[in-house]
């Protein structure tokens, strides 16, 4: 009844091209933003920030990044953990080398560094396709983690081999280090997520997005109609790695504070982000959020149900979690290969007709 284009007249090209053509969607979008910016920061406490909101926002950025590469451009990557590590270590080196520069710049530059590394590892994608490429990106994953473990320069020769984030401020508020307030951590992640999502959404619905999708659907045909495959694939790798680098930097600096590379950015992380993208929906920015929310909330919910309500031992709950995640992935691939985003799309189609089904 409310959810339709009828009666919403567009009088300029800009209006006609906007992201949300339906009024209801626009209101919903502004409502979500208002809640995220004006309500949650005042309600948030340490538990909610550390268990749910901050990891959700950071994983959402990583999922957006991987979704651009895998969902839009069709290049499956298992190197996400390695690229997040590049972002984290770049951020660490910058934070310790230039302590006076604002951390926001550090995080952006880390994204840039990761973009370059990503593009370098994307070079073989011109020759290698499908899961050959997926396996090739494993080379990036293992090599990068090994590199950060072995070369002392990256962790400033600290005795433990770990990197830990020094305290840094945005304005008067600490966002990293032990004294950072939960709302400040939440806010810096939220700002990055908002910017990344808007940028990604607009990139993917413009020329670049169409080129990426052409390459995904059939690269030879795309080449014939004038899409340069090398350039497009490398751009996809670079953009995707940029986002993943930002999320890695935030993951290290804001969320964890101290990082041991094999543990925080191992192959499991690559799979986790890939699952977010699959469950959320390949080729959808909303899906990246949905997938990240789902896989961040699932362990928390399972832990709550299993350990707190049923009183089961924690190792049992963590095994159950593996079973459930595995089963869910297979279930989604069978029932809905396009993920949560597709469910949302179907709902919208239904809403458009509601309450008259024909």
């Amino acid at each position: 009844m409310f959810y339709r284009e009828a009666g919403d007249f567009k009088t300029s090209y800009a209006e006609d091209n906007q992201t949300f053509p339906i009024k209801f969607d626009r209101y919903r979008y502004w409502l979500v933003l208002a809640v995220a910016y004006l309500v949650i920061p005042f309600m948030i406490n340490d538990y909610w920030a550390n268990a749910i909101f901050v990891p959700f926002l950071i994983y959402a950025i990583a999922a957006i990044g991987l979704n651009i590469l895998t969902g839009y451009c069709g290049q499956v990557s298992l190197g996400t953990g390695g690229f997040m590590a590049v972002g984290a270590y770049a951020c660490y080196k910058l934070m310790t080398a230039f302590p006076d520069v604002n951390i926001v710049f550090h995080i952006l530059v880390s994204g840039g560094v990761t973009a370059m590394v990503g593009a370098a590892f994307g070079l073989p994608s011109l020759r290698i396709k499908g899961f050959y490429l997926a396996v090739a990106t494993l080379a990036a994953q293992f090599f990068l983690v090994w590199l950060f473990n072995k070369v002392g320069w990256f962790y400033n020769y600290s005795a433990s081999g770990q990197i830990s984030a020094p305290e840094r401020f945005v304005g008067p508020f600490a966002v990293t280090g032990p004294n950072a307030a939960p709302w400040a951590q939440y806010m810096i992640c939220l700002v990055f997520v908002t910017v990344c999502a808007v940028v990604a959404r607009n990139l993917t619905r413009g020329t670049l997005g169409r080129k990426l999708m052409a390459i995904r659907d059939m690269d030879i045909a795309a080449e014939i109609i004038g899409v340069n495959p090398l350039r497009t694939k490398l751009t996809a790798f670079a953009i995707s790695s940029f986002f993943i680098g930002i999320s890695g930097a935030l993951f290290f600096a804001v969320y964890l504070g101290a990082v041991e590379v094999g543990e925080a950015f191992g192959i499991q992380k690559s799979f986790l982000v890939l699952f977010m993208v699959i469950i959320g929906g390949l080729g959808s920015i909303f899906g990246s959020f949905a997938g990240a929310a789902f896989l961040v909330l699932l362990p928390v919910a399972l832990k709550f149900v299993g350990s707190d309500l049923m009183g089961w031992p924690t190792d049992l709950v963590s095994h159950l979690q593996l079973v459930i995640i595995g089963a869910l992935i297979m279930f989604f691939l069978i029932k809905e290969p396009h993920g949560l985003a597709q469910l949302w799309r179907v709902t919208k189609e239904k809403l458009r007709l509601w309450p008259f089904p024909h």
Partner: protein
């Protein structure tokens, strides 16, 4: 012969033996990939699961004891008997066949005709699922496989070769278990080839690998063949699981050898059984050699990534692998 050269030879031989282990895992991949086009990431976890099941049955563990205790408040963990190895292996094979049936019935039957990458991701989900089930069934503590396989270095070979390169050479050190693994791998490949060449179901399997639709039209049941192939892969996984389990204990890291098998396959080509063997040998040797010559210069532990980088470089020049079928793309 100088001592250095002999050490190099020793490194190479040990690399070959390690390569045989990789090949064992890679074999299971090739079987499934050829027959159904599914790139089965779960092969490593299948090896882990098979080894866990074998160890659990031999010890007389109660399956799912942990979860039963948590729900019912009981405290059971063992039946109190020990099953002889041969019987336990047979029972494990039955479990793996049941698993193959379940996978085919509940997962891949519904995914027929999907893109390969979707199937690949489904097997990643399967890997997680199976890993969780394995832990739930048998517990996640490290188990030992007491099958009576020989352990330790071969004294005979050491005594034979001592003093070859002068007085400071103590003879080749080669693990007996690796030698057994090599023999088992040869037997396994020989029997697989014999099976696919000379038996009715083996021929049907090759027909399916060649062309699904043509195979269907001459009356071959795709469903049966796929269950057969998954069972065979389960059997190969069991063999690999026994070998790796005897070598380093049955534990989670066993499932990570699946990742090592990927570069092996990329080198050898996804569709070739000899390719899996040769690829495994090259990776095993290359990795040990690289660690021996270059590894010490750059801080060691290069085995973690060498295989992948080698495969990556190799693929850039020959995308279908050494023995793979040529990739032809049509618009």
């Amino acid at each position: 012969m100088s001592t250095d050269f002999l050490y190099l030879v020793e490194v190479l031989i040990n690399g070959l033996m390690a390569g045989v282990m990789y090949s064992l895992v890679a074999l299971g991949f090739v079987l499934i990939f050829k027959a159904s086009g599914i790139f089965n990431y779960a092969q490593g976890v299948m090896a882990l699961f098979a080894a866990l099941t074998l160890a659990g049955i031999m010890e007389g563990q109660v399956p799912f004891a942990h979860i039963i205790n948590a729900i019912l408040g009981t405290n059971i963990h063992h039946f109190g008997w020990h099953v002889p190895a041969v019987l336990a292996i047979l029972m494990t094979i039955v479990v793996m066949v049941g698993f193959a049936w379940g996978v085919q019935r509940f997962v891949f039957r519904h995914l027929v005709g999907q893109e390969p990458i979707i199937l690949f991701m489904a097997t990643i989900g399967l890997a997680y699922f199976l890993e969780g089930v394995g832990d739930l069934m048998w517990g996640s503590d490290i188990k030992t496989l007491a099958l009576g396989l020989p352990q330790g270095g071969s004294r005979w070979l050491e005594d034979m070769t001592v003093g070859w390169g002068g007085d400071d050479f103590y003879g080749f050190y080669i693990d007996k278990l690796d030698m057994v693994a090599t023999i088992v791998a040869i037997l396994l490949v020989a029997s697989l080839i014999a099976f696919s060449q000379y038996t009715k179901h083996g021929r049907a399997m090759r027909a399916v690998a060649d062309d699904h639709q043509a195979a269907l039209s001459v009356g071959i049941s795709l469903n049966f063949i796929w269950i057969l192939v998954w069972s065979l892969a389960g059997f190969v996984a069991l063999v690999a699981g026994i070998m790796w389990g005897a070598k380093s204990g049955v534990q989670f890291s066993l499932s990570m050898i699946a990742l090592k098998a990927l570069p092996v396959l990329m080198l050898g080509g996804f569709t070739s059984i000899p390719g899996a063997i040769v690829g495994g040998l090259i990776i095993g040797m290359g990795e040990k050699l690289f660690e021996y010559t270059v590894g010490s210069l750059v801080g060691g532990a290069t085995e973690n990534w060498f295989a992948y980088v080698l495969a990556l470089l190799f693929l850039v020049f020959r995308p279908q692998g050494l023995f793979g079928e040529r990739i032809i793309e049509r618009v």
